[in-house]
């Protein structure tokens, strides 16, 4: 399972969309789904649901109207790869959507772009126009529209995103029903991350075998990482999955890295002593791409406080565990820091974070505890003193 740090060029590789699309449109639906399933591709937004399964479930629905939704509401702190992908290779995103459409039997696609990226829209629309011409030439019927967000992290949650497209408050829905049977406008919907769609296109181009040779058993393929924080080379890197945090730090650290936050504010904090045996991927610490490095000059209390402030503001407020929990965690660590309560109060706060994990309605409240627990456990003295 020992994998080094290998750079890959798949997502940004120059590709003739006509060739790949023609091939996909001449394939049977079930063959496209089989290829994506066999590749082992898991969703690249962070949650990691197998893409092929999502397509298979949506394809199985009898409803005549279905949708492909591209989730471009990239809001996780420390993630910026989807912006780069849309900026550089939007035609590959559109191609991935059309292929997904063919696979599940949908004629309509919607890109939900976060409001913070509105400056990209004129260029993206232009490229979309050329794309629509291209698929018309090939003789395939698929139309993509854009929906813009307006500054709400929670809309990256799939059902909140649907609510937003439909003109409502971005409040997550109860599940089930899952999007594959009832998504946007109540229709079967395959909602995929920007990078996932491009990867799916490249799997059709290169075949599932060559893709599944990359990575490990649990984390197939490669991934685009957004690297920031205390690093001499912040930026976007496409790397093979399966490396350890140590190998990552050897490449990107500044020589004094004390912790890496993998997966953003909703992800996990890995301290120096755990670098060598922590794998970046679904068998270790999963990530939608966000990798933040902190060196020994940083206070992990400030990091934790910043994350909690973020969640307290971005919680949609619909369910009590998340709405009240985020506020109380924030107030709680502030009290501990000021010495207003005993340091053992932290144990109570960890219990609260654990409760939020089981009691919250959606992924936001459920994942606040990831960063909270891993930072408090590994840097307890920095939180207290």
């Amino acid at each position: 399972m020992e994998k080094g740090l290998t750079k890959v060029d798949l997502i940004f590789e120059k590709t003739d969309p006509k060739e790949v699309l023609t091939r996909a449109f001449n394939m049977k639906r079930e063959d496209i789904i089989r290829d994506v399933l066999e590749s082992g591709l898991k969703g690249r937004g962070g949650a990691g649901f197998p893409t092929g399964l999502k397509w298979k479930y949506t394809a199985a629905e009898k409803e005549p109207v279905k949708y492909v939704v591209c989730n471009a509401d990239e809001g996780e702190p420390g993630t910026f790869k989807d912006r780069e992908i849309l900026d550089k290779v939007a035609y590959k995103v559109y191609s991935g959507m059309a292929i997904a459409g063919k696979a599940i039997g949908a004629k309509n696609g919607i890109v939900y772009l976060r409001g913070e990226y509105r400056f990209l829209l004129p260029k993206l629309m232009q490229e979309l126009e050329s794309f629509h011409k291209l698929i018309k030439d090939i003789g395939y019927d698929f139309k993509i529209n854009y929906c813009l967000g307006s500054g709400a992290y929670i809309c990256g949650e799939e059902s909140a995103l649907f609510e937003s497209i439909e003109g409502g408050r971005g409040e997550p829905r109860n599940k089930p029903p899952y999007p594959t049977s009832s998504g946007v406008f109540g229709k079967p919907t395959s909602i995929n991350n920007v990078e996932t769609l491009v990867t799916a296109m490249m799997i059709i181009k290169h075949g599932p075998e060559s893709y599944s040779q990359l990575g490990t058993k649990d984390s197939r393929g490669s991934k685009v990482f957004s690297v920031s924080g205390d690093t001499p080379k912040p930026g976007i890197y496409e790397l093979e999955l399966g490396m350890s945090v140590q190998e990552f730090v050897n490449e990107f650290g500044d020589g004094d890295t004390k912790a890496v936050q993998v997966g953003g504010a909703s992800g996990f904090c890995v301290p120096r002593k755990k670098f060598p045996y922590t794998v970046i991927g679904f068998e270790g610490v999963p990530t939608g791409g966000s990798m933040k490095l902190f060196n020994s000059s940083r206070s992990m209390y400030n990091v934790l406080r910043n994350y909690l402030e973020f969640f307290a503001e971005e919680s949609c407020g619909q369910c009590t565990p998340c709405r009240v929990g985020c506020q109380q965690l924030l107030k709680g660590v502030e009290k501990v820091k000021k010495g207003e309560v005993k340091s053992t109060y932290l144990n109570e706060l960890v219990k609260l974070a654990d409760t939020m994990k089981v009691a919250s309605k959606c992924g936001l409240g459920q994942s606040v505890g990831n960063a909270f627990r891993t930072i408090v456990e590994n840097f307890r003295e920095e939180i207290i003193y």
């Binding site: 993630t79 813009l148 967000g149 307006s150 937003s164 910043n306």
Partner: protein
């Protein structure tokens, strides 16, 4: 305050009058006038034939659909961890000094609003801000002075 005039009707003609047209219509008003007045929201409700409470409910959920007075140029300073580590406070300081307002305020000539925002996706080029929809990255206090002077001359 502004007069919303024919804008709501024009936007409704463009985007349609179904419920899902609500966001693009509100975004269109904010793009032109920087924030939503009560009158504008009531007008949207009338045009789409839904209750004003539903329009306000949607608008108030989204941080970019402001329901309080904003200036012509809304400056959003990212305060999430990387920008915070890489000098966000100096950026706020110089903006407050130049504009003579505090975070959350709007200049009396209604040209600039200064607010903080959560991660805008430029962590590798921190610190970063948005002025309306345009991002400015890898900022220093000197660069901020140049940028804001540019906007002041645009008046």
């Amino acid at each position: 305050m502004y007069q919303v005039g024919n804008l709501v009707r024009e936007l409704s003609d463009k985007h349609g009058r179904a419920r899902e047209s609500l966001m693009p219509i509100l975004q269109g008003i904010v793009e032109k006038h920087n924030y939503l007045t009560d009158e504008a929201m009531v007008e949207v409700a009338r045009e789409l034939d839904i209750s004003a409470a539903e329009v306000y409910g949607t608008a108030s959920f989204y941080t970019f659909l402001d329901t309080q007075v904003r200036g012509k140029y809304v400056i959003r300073v990212c305060k999430t961890i990387t920008c915070s580590m890489k000098g966000k406070n100096e950026i706020i300081q110089i903006l407050e000094d130049m504009l003579k307002i505090k975070v959350g305020e709007t200049t009396s000539d209604k040209m600039f609003s200064l607010i903080e925002t959560n991660c805008i996706g430029w962590c590798h080029k921190a610190p970063a801000i948005l002025i309306n929809e345009i991002p400015y990255t890898e900022l220093t206090p000197e660069k901020v002075v140049e940028i804001i002077k540019g906007y002041m001359h645009k008046k």
